[in-house]
């Protein structure tokens, strides 16, 4: 167990045992807390931030108010630079997605996750390979065969943003299956899902929450999930399938994995007490029924990490993104 984790647990233990001394020692926000969302309204990160805000408000988990602010400019660069510039401000949190790594690498803006203080990983978001339900391919094998039959570049993959997670996965699919796809970037996951239903693209790698409504309506079909093991949610989503019934891409011969971080960071220079407060707050959020509902609807991977373990995970993930993006030629030109 890491030191930070021990400290946090110890802090929590002290809090529950002797409220008087804790009240003296523990730090609490003294004004409104901002959650910066480095993405537009309506996307996955925005939804999660707003759910957290809703839970904190509804269950009175904090004395001060919490607000969500979207800073989506430059693929989230605007939001990250804002947090980087708020050194030691304990009233600011930022929720991240993979653009924590991809935006600085692809655009060369002066930012690295080390400019932030990791607070907690709330969940990992999954990616699923979707095709239009009217198309004949029922498995990854059918799909790959169809791509090969049609010729290089004829198959269109729709995704969110450019040189971000969706395109990285697309490049990985091309490598793993030795095919060539045409990647078309759109603004948001919901739009991507609708383009697939309308037949304007042939496949997508939407997050579960982005495509679930279309899946339930029988408009799209999942082929495989890009995680190491199948999803744990066994409740039926459609008449005959649950999230757990989607096979992993690896088991279908598409040798690759990808999950996306949904976690919180704070500006650099904040104290341990301040981080501990938010770790405790976010742990309380995770206990609420609203949070559990969100996890189930969006079929999230519920891994939770804090402290050094979290920082190590982020560092490893950054290295992996650098490799993937270098291989794909996505790095910013010097």
């Amino acid at each position: 167990m890491s030191h930070a984790l021990k400290a946090a647990l110890l802090g929590a233990a002290v809090l529950s045992v002797s409220p008087v001394s804790a009240a003296l020692a523990a730090w609490e926000p003294t004004r409104t807390v901002e959650i910066i969302v480095p993405a537009g309204p309506g996307g996955g990160a925005d939804q999660m931030a707003r759910v957290v805000q809703g839970i904190v408000t509804k269950h009175n988990l904090m004395k001060q108010a919490m607000v969500v602010i979207n800073k989506a400019g430059a693929a989230g660069g605007e939001g990250f630079l804002d947090v980087k510039g708020s050194n030691a401000n304990p009233h600011k949190l930022v929720i991240t997605l993979s653009n924590l790594f991809t935006t600085p690498l692809a655009t060369g803006i002066p930012f690295n996750w080390k400019d932030l203080t990791p607070v907690a990983m709330m969940a990992l978001d999954e990616f699923v390979l979707w095709v239009n339900a009217d198309k004949p391919y029922k498995s990854v094998k059918d799909y790959i065969t169809a791509i090969k039959a049609k010729g290089p570049g004829e198959f269109k993959m729709g995704g969110t943003g450019s040189k971000q997670e969706d395109q990285i996965i697309t490049v990985a699919i091309e490598k793993a299956a030795n095919v060539k796809l045409t990647y078309i970037p759109f603004r948001g996951g919901g739009e991507v899902a609708v383009q697939l239903v309308g037949g304007h693209v042939d496949s997508t790698v939407n997050n579960p929450i982005e495509a679930v409504a279309q899946w339930r309506a029988g408009k799209v079909r999942p082929l495989c999930v890009f995680d190491g093991k199948p999803l744990p949610y066994t409740d039926k989503v459609t008449a005959d399938m649950a999230w757990s019934d989607i096979p992993t891409c690896k088991s279908q011969g598409l040798d690759m994995e990808y999950v996306m971080l949904r976690g919180f960071f704070m500006p650099a220079g904040v104290t341990k007490d301040q981080v501990a407060f938010y770790v405790d707050l976010l742990q309380k959020v995770r206990e609420t029924p609203e949070w559990k509902d969100l996890m189930k609807t969006g079929a999230f991977n519920q891994t939770f990490m804090i402290g050094d373990e979290y920082a190590k995970w982020v560092a490893a993930e950054e290295a992996r993104h650098r490799d993937l993006m270098t291989a794909a030629g996505f790095l910013a030109g010097k």
């Binding site: 537009g40 309204p41 309506g42 925005d46 939804q47 707003r50 759910v51 805000q53 809703g54 408000t57 509804k58 108010a65 919490m66 969500v68 602010i69 979207n70 800073k71 400019g73 430059a74 693929a75 660069g77 605007e78 630079l81 692809a106 655009t107 060369g108 803006i109 002066p110 570049g153 269109k156 943003g161 450019s162 040189k163 971000q164 045409t182 990647y183 078309i184 970037p185 759109f186 603004r187 948001g188 919901g190 739009e191 899902a193 609708v194 239903v197 309308g198 037949g199 304007h200 693209v201 679930v212 409504a213 279309q214 339930r216 309506a217 408009k219 609203e290 509902d293 969100l294 609807t297």
Partner: protein
């Protein structure tokens, strides 16, 4: 028939005293939000979203959608009175609304704006009620090529409509395109034209440009004319509403056409802003009094307001039935739906009947209540112009600065607003039209994105813009309206020849 029963059930839900109270509150808040430039419906709803967590989903959506209606109404007020569009879709309203106010006809302009808004919204709600499932299918037909063709049509219906020389219009539009290109290129994911300044990462926000070009530019122009210490001698006329209403039915054609344009744009989903511009451009083309547009023609207020409100209302349909927001405000509402545990999508209409029909019923009643509220305030709003300019100008300046700051919470934007103000003043002095520039800033990057997405999909073949009946006919419409003056000229020459 079942839908009608559901709708009446929805009315019953909406007419509960608590929901009615929430509705009035929402509309008043919305009008305030719409009046403040920069705050905008999307920000306003985002700020007020937490208020609704303790309500039932139906009451919550009623309140939030009423804020949305209120903001749509409110956007017209500052456009007419001060030439400052509170919302992007109110820009076209300033073209004739503000000249009317300068002529002392502010009450008339406001009444026309509010009434047209109501007519547009009502039309869109009726469309939603009757053909919701069909409409959702239509929205699915819009891929990148179809979207580009819509933007193309919006640009074409606007070119050559000003009195200014075509060359100046073109220059103004190109500057707009260049400004729209600054920031992240969403197709390659690389930064463009930022010159290493992190302040340029976001590009130039449309709202900041508009607040500067119109609001600050207008103040500078008025200052040049001398700081008169008296307000406009506008008589407060409580009967102005009735008098304007008597005149409005004359423009039923413009209204109907604007309703159709608005619904189409809202569903497609291109949104309220192109709808208002396109509707204004086409009305100017077709109207008998088109030559007088821009000098205070009431029809020039009716056309954009009707279309904007119809589009704003129709934009909620793709959000509910497809989960794709037709506007930024709809995107925040979408986030709200998820928090209340509702899943937008094709099944929402089947699984959450109470909620959907409650919302649709609230669109009818909310708009009616909104109309009554804003109309009773028309004489009051018009009276604001009686305040001397030297008193009101600093107030406007402060409101503009706050508005510019609110867009991204950045002081740099306030500086940009002032720069745009000077640019707007210089352009006006040199007779360069502002409207084409604004149109290019707001739609330029979206049009570029759709164009490049289409070419990516077609592997570079321009034929994609003629690849099916839908995209082909929209492109053809665009070309016809682009060359309309030439076609018209040729037509009249041909008719003249046999006669002579």
């Amino acid at each position: 028939m079942e839908d009608v029963v559901n709708l009446f059930h929805g009315f019953a839900v909406v007419l509960q005293p608590f929901n009615l109270a929430v509705m009035v509150l929402g509309i008043v808040l919305g009008v305030i939000i719409g009046v403040l430039p920069g705050l905008g419906g999307a920000n306003g709803i985002a700020i007020l979203l937490p208020l609704t967590f303790s309500m039932s989903p139906t009451s919550a959506i009623i309140m939030l959608s009423c804020i949305y209606w209120g903001a749509l109404f409110g956007g017209a007020i500052t456009s007419v009175l001060f030439n400052i569009p509170g919302e992007p879709w109110s820009v076209a309203t300033t073209f004739d609304g503000h000249p009317m106010a300068q002529q002392g006809r502010a009450g008339e302009a406001l009444t026309a704006a509010f009434t047209s808004s109501f007519v547009g919204a009502l039309f869109a709600v009726i469309v939603i009620t009757l053909v919701a499932p069909l409409v959702a299918l239509f929205a699915l037909k819009f891929g990148p090529a179809e979207k580009f063709s819509v933007f193309f049509l919006a640009f074409c219906s606007f070119i050559g409509m000003g009195k200014e020389p075509p060359f100046k219009t073109l220059v103004s539009m190109m500057i707009g395109f260049a400004l729209a290109a600054v920031g992240l290129d969403s197709v390659t994911g690389q930064l463009r034209l930022t010159f290493g300044f992190t302040d340029f990462l976001n590009g130039f926000d449309f709202l900041i440009a508009v607040i500067g070009l119109f609001g600050i530019g207008e103040i500078l122009l008025t200052m040049e004319e001398g700081l008169a210490f008296k307000g406009k001698a506008v008589a407060i006329n409580p009967r102005v509403v009735w008098q304007t209403w008597l005149e409005l039915p004359r423009y039923w054609m413009t209204s109907l056409r604007s309703c159709l344009i608005g619904c189409w744009m809202g569903i497609s989903p291109a949104g309220a802003t192109p709808a208002s511009f396109m509707s204004y451009g086409i009305a100017k083309r077709i109207s008998k009094r088109g030559f007088n547009f821009g000098k205070g023609e009431i029809e020039g207020v009716v056309a954009p307001e009707t279309a904007a409100h119809a589009a704003g209302t129709a934009a909620l349909l793709p959000m509910l039935s497809l989960g794709v927001p037709g506007s930024p405000t709809a995107a925040v509402l979408l986030g709200g739906l998820l928090i209340w545990g509702l899943q937008p999508g094709p099944l929402l209409f089947v699984e959450q009947k109470d909620f959907v029909w409650g919302l649709i019923a609230s669109m009818y009643i909310g708009n009616l209540v909104g109309l009554i509220i804003v109309l009773t305030m028309v004489p009051l709003f018009a009276a604001i112009l009686r305040i001397p300019f030297s008193v009101i100008a600093p107030v406007i300046l402060v409101i503009c600065a706050i508005g510019a700051y609110t867009v991204h919470n950045s002081t740099f934007d306030v500086v940009m607003m002032l720069v745009f103000g000077i640019v707007g003043y210089v352009m006006k002095k040199c007779d360069y039209p502002l409207a084409p520039m604004v149109l290019a800033i707001v739609l330029g990057d979206k049009a570029e994105e759709a164009f490049r997405q289409s070419l990516l999909a077609s592997q570079g073949h321009l034929a994609v813009f003629w690849s099916n009946g839908l995209v082909g006919s929209i492109m053809a419409l665009g070309l016809i309206s682009l060359f309309w003056p030439l076609i018209q000229g040729a037509w009249s020459r041909m008719r003249a020849r046999p006669a002579s």
